[in-house]
């Protein structure tokens, strides 16, 4: 029922909150099964080493130990490697290099944290103690951690199958047209950019509990996953060779994902396999230090980028050359992130007519790199917006003016970019205008002067970003290398009493699906919000699903539910026609009520549901009983959320400390179902984007390959006192091609914000001669940039 508080567009309070607020949430580590034993993974202490011998004898004899397994045990049972779900085709037409990714190391370890063996014991402490008694004879090899260095001649080779550590070279766009644009240019802006490596850091560490029932020949895996069906498919079909229907994967409450829990990890397969070997359920929960070492990381690009303009600041062409670190092995979606999700976004919000992008995917002795919130799109936005802001400074143009001069105008949609995407709709000037109003840009110069009087340098930075979300049309994704479909499944089940259960193949790990989807269903069926429950995360309860990432849950998963609702309503119309003794075409449906047009004869959805399950007065000859419909929805295009972020910082020139004093985000997410949840998603995304800009980075020692930032004492997470209070708003143009008109909001904050922060700092320090900064803009780095600029001025 579209009540004042819970209808579409209303800030309904979340259904899921109560269990989380009272300690009744059920996360993977909260699950204990009878007879359960515990696993500890022995991980490589070396970045690169040959394994001569593993002696597990002393560990096997340690107190409480049930079993110890190595890669040889897996191989003896025919266990396969961890598969990659996306194949990129090299510029020469060959498939990418795809070396084996054993679930437990075989022959070699390739990064610090690579799993070497698993110990299973009666308690976790016993398993951990015993793991220390495994004696591994390593020949330590030289390691390489930086993507640029890994491509150089004579560097250590991570895989024999990938000479020069090159996984692929991928190109997009018309290189000749770009060359021509640069030949005609009045001005060219050039930048060398580093998009540093990040650790996703969901606060819930990865965990899994696996069990095997001999009686039913059935495996059950509870795991911290954003997409349990995909995990089941990959693990059963490619790793363990198990019948898919004999494997149940449950992702219960999951404490944040941010991409890192999309992927099928080796630990899941090893535990599932071992649960049958030992005949007991096995639990494993990562320690945080293991999370830092073994969760797939994000970003890690080194890029040279160039933007060609005419003398009025109109963009003529863009050229981008990126070396992307893929880590030691290909994680599930890894190859697609710096290619399909990156190169295609380089048009940004602009009419740049010619763009060429070349990406080299590189193996290094580091943890695998895969999708992290935004995945490819933050990297693209960082390149585009840093270029645009630098160009404006070099040309002496206003930051808003250079953007407006190059925006795709609102009447130019659908708009075909030179990098493969067709944007369906947008109004970029509207979000910029609103953001400038909310940020009080007019008052900035006065604030800058006031700060100067206090000895602080104040600056303002802009980012007008676009993203491609709602992943994805399966046929397009397939043509681009996806080895899976990217549709979503939804089911709407009315019970005889009119209560409703909704099943979705997407997964909520903080996004609030139980609320948002219930709002949609309750509104459409005209039933109370309280009467709708949403089920997700269990392959035994939900037909299928591709999970949650790429801001796809509402745009794709919500659309599948809309399709299922249409089927329910259509069937209900047939039942109503029979019960109201009218022709089907004379039945109108509105908000839970079927009515014979032009009469007061009507019947409610609740009565229809009852009739469907107690079909005494029912058109049984034409219609099956029951009211339970499922649907699959495959989108026809990506969605294109876009927006304008404006950041104001103050820099203390004596310490290099940067304070974000104002941050304004105005986004276009299409229609909004729950503005409270959308705002929360933006806040969280901004925190991660600002975290990247100012604080966070994974550092591997360049010589030893050791992960230097392996705890929260070394890896700087944004805390409450690092962040400002955000000003957020929306200026929406509904998506033109999905039934809800929605675009997705989960990643926008992370995509749009980093260049706004960095350019605000550069703007603040430009009076001192600072022209460039890399992320994270730590105090020491900012202070050094000031000293260098001052030094070069003096010289």
């Amino acid at each position: 029922m579209a009540t004042a508080e819970t209808g579409i567009g209303k800030a309904a309070k979340r259904k899921e909150d109560r269990r989380f607020l009272t300690g009744e949430g059920r996360y993977t580590d909260d699950i204990d099964l009878p007879g359960q034993v515990y696993a500890c993974f022995l991980r490589s202490p070396h970045a690169h080493a040959r394994i001569n011998r593993i002696d597990t004898g002393p560990a096997r004899e340690a107190p409480g130990v049930v079993a110890v397994y190595t890669g040889d045990d897996l191989a003896a049972d025919g266990v396969g490697g961890i598969p990659c779900g996306w194949q990129i085709t090299d510029v020469d037409g060959q498939p990418m290099k795809e070396p084996a990714h054993p679930a437990l190391a075989q022959g070699k370890v390739r990064y610090v944290g690579d799993q070497v063996a698993v110990v299973i014991a009666e308690s976790y402490h016993q398993a951990k103690d015993a793991a220390e008694r495994i004696d591994v004879d390593y020949d330590i090899l030289d390691a390489v951690v930086s993507p640029a260095e890994a491509l150089e001649e004579g560097r250590p080779q991570v895989h024999d199958e990938a000479p020069g550590n090159q996984c692929y070279v991928w190109e997009l766009g018309d290189g000749d047209a770009v060359d021509d644009a640069f030949n005609r240019a009045a001005h060219v802006t050039r930048l060398d950019l580093v998009n540093q490596r990040l650790a996703p850091n969901a606060i819930e560490p990865r965990a899994a509990v696996a069990s095997y029932s001999r009686g039913e020949d059935q495996y059950t895996l509870y795991t911290t996953s954003q997409n349990p069906h995909v995990t089941r498919l990959l693990m059963s079909a490619f790793v363990l060779n198990l019948p898919e229907h004999k494997v149940r994967v449950v992702a219960p409450d999951v404490g944040g994902g941010f991409g890192s829990k999309i992927f099928h990890y080796a630990e899941e397969a090893v535990l599932t396999w071992a649960s049958r070997k030992v005949g007991r359920p096995i639990k494993w929960t990562a320690e945080r230090v293991e999370s830092f070492m073994s969760d797939a990381h994000g970003r890690d690009h080194v890029t040279h980028a160039e933007l060609a303009m005419d003398d009025s600041g109109k963009f003529l062409g863009m050229r981008v050359n990126t070396k992307a670190n893929l880590g030691a092995y290909l994680s599930t979606f890894a190859p697609s992130v710096p290619t399909i999700l990156y190169g295609t976004l380089l048009a940004g919000q602009y009419t740049t007519p010619a763009i060429h992008c070349r990406v080299t995917g590189v193996f290094t002795n580091t943890a695998p790199v895969d999708a992290y919130r935004g995945a490819g799109r933050p990297e693209a936005t960082y390149v585009v917006e840093r270029l645009v802001s630098a160009a404006a400074r070099e040309m002496g143009m206003d930051q808003a003016e250079i953007r407006r001069r190059n925006f795709i105008p609102r009447d130019a949609f659908p708009y075909q970019t030179p990098v493969a995407l067709t944007y369906d709709v947008g109004d970029y000037d509207a979000t910029l205008t609103e953001a400038m109003r909310m940020a009080d840009v007019d008052g900035f110069e006065a604030r800058r002067k006031e700060a100067q009087a206090r000895g602080k340098y104040r600056g303002i930075g802009y980012s007008t970003y676009i993203e491609a979300c709602g992943l994805a049309p399966s046929n397009i994704a397939g043509a681009l290398g996806a080895r899976a479909g990217l549709f979503e499944a939804g089911e709407v089940r009315l019970h005889p009493t009119g209560k409703v259960t909704v099943f979705t193949g997407s997964h909520s790990h903080g996004q609030g699906h139980e609320t948002t989807f219930a709002q949609i269903v309750a509104s459409r069926l005209g039933v109370p919000y309280e009467d709708v429950d949403v089920v997700h995360g269990d392959t035994d309860r939900i037909a299928f699903g591709m999970g949650t990432y790429g801001s796809r849950s509402l745009a794709v998963g919500g659309s599948a539910i809309m399709k299922a609702l249409d089927k329910v309503i259509d069937k209900g119309r047939k039942i109503a026609a029979h019960m109201l003794e009218a022709a089907e075409q004379d039945i109108e449906y509105d908000d839970g009520t079927y009515r014979v047009a032009g009469t007061d004869k009507e019947i409610s959805m609740g009565e229809i549901a009852f009739s469907a399950y107690v079909p005494h007065n029912y058109p049984l000859e034409q219609l099956e009983p029951g009211l339970d419909e499922n649907a699959f929805y495959d989108p026809t295009n990506f969605t294109y959320p876009a927006g304008s972020h404006i950041c104001e910082v103050e820099v203390d020139p004596d310490t290099g400390k940067v304070e974000v004093v104002n941050f304004t985000a105005v986004d276009d997410f299409g229609n909004v179902i729950n503005p409270m949840i959308v705002e929360g998603q933006v806040h969280g995304g901004l925190a991660q984007g600002i975290g990247q800009a100012l604080l966070e980075q994974c550092i591997y020692d360049p010589d030893s390959g050791q992960l230097v930032t392996g705890t929260y004492m070394d890896y700087i997470m944004p805390r409450a006192d690092d962040l400002p209070s955000f000003r957020v708003g929306t200026q929406n143009t509904p998506c033109t091609h999905n039934p809800l008109g929605v675009k997705g909001c989960g990643e926008a904050g992370t995509i749009g914000s980093p260049p706004a922060v960095i350019d605000a700092i550069i703007d603040a320090l430009s009076p001192l001669g600072v022209r460039h900064l890399d992320m994270p803009a730590t105090p020491v780095r900012v202070w050094q940039a000031i000293q260098d600029a001052q030094g070069s001025r003096a010289a």
């Binding site: 909150d17 607020l21 009272t22 949430g25 996360y27 944040g256 945080r288 997470m717 962040l723």
Partner: protein, 156 residues
Amino acid sequence: MNVSLTVNGKAVSAEVEPRTLLVEFLRDELGLTGTHVGCDTGQCGACTVHLDGRAVKACSVLVGQADGAEVLTIEGLAGEDGSLHPMQAAFHEQHGLQCGFCTPGMVMAAIDLVRSYPGASDTTIRAQLEGNLCRCTGYENIVRAVRTGAANMEAQ
């Protein structure tokens, strides 16, 4: 070794290994899984509980140190009729949680914060929550929730 303490108003007593952490005792011995573990270095605050009325990180306290003490966890906050504590209600009202994993620790820390700093400013709230990591909310709505929770607690 034997420990006896009061947890959420109930006397409990158990034989434990001396190395047992308070958070392990709560989760593994008592099944109070509302208290979470997010790190191994005392940094994330997900395991925050009250020990004799003050917020502590239960990963940094041995259960032996809590012998004879009163411990309050997230499970002990709501009224017997199921009514939420004013701070729990405020987090719901202000959308101060998303995935829920940091939430129990955040709520326990917030209650102590309000008692220690009545009428705290946003700056004080942010500074005092520095020991609790949240990766979902960007803290904006947590700050609002603490403010609302403080007002709710005062009104009670």
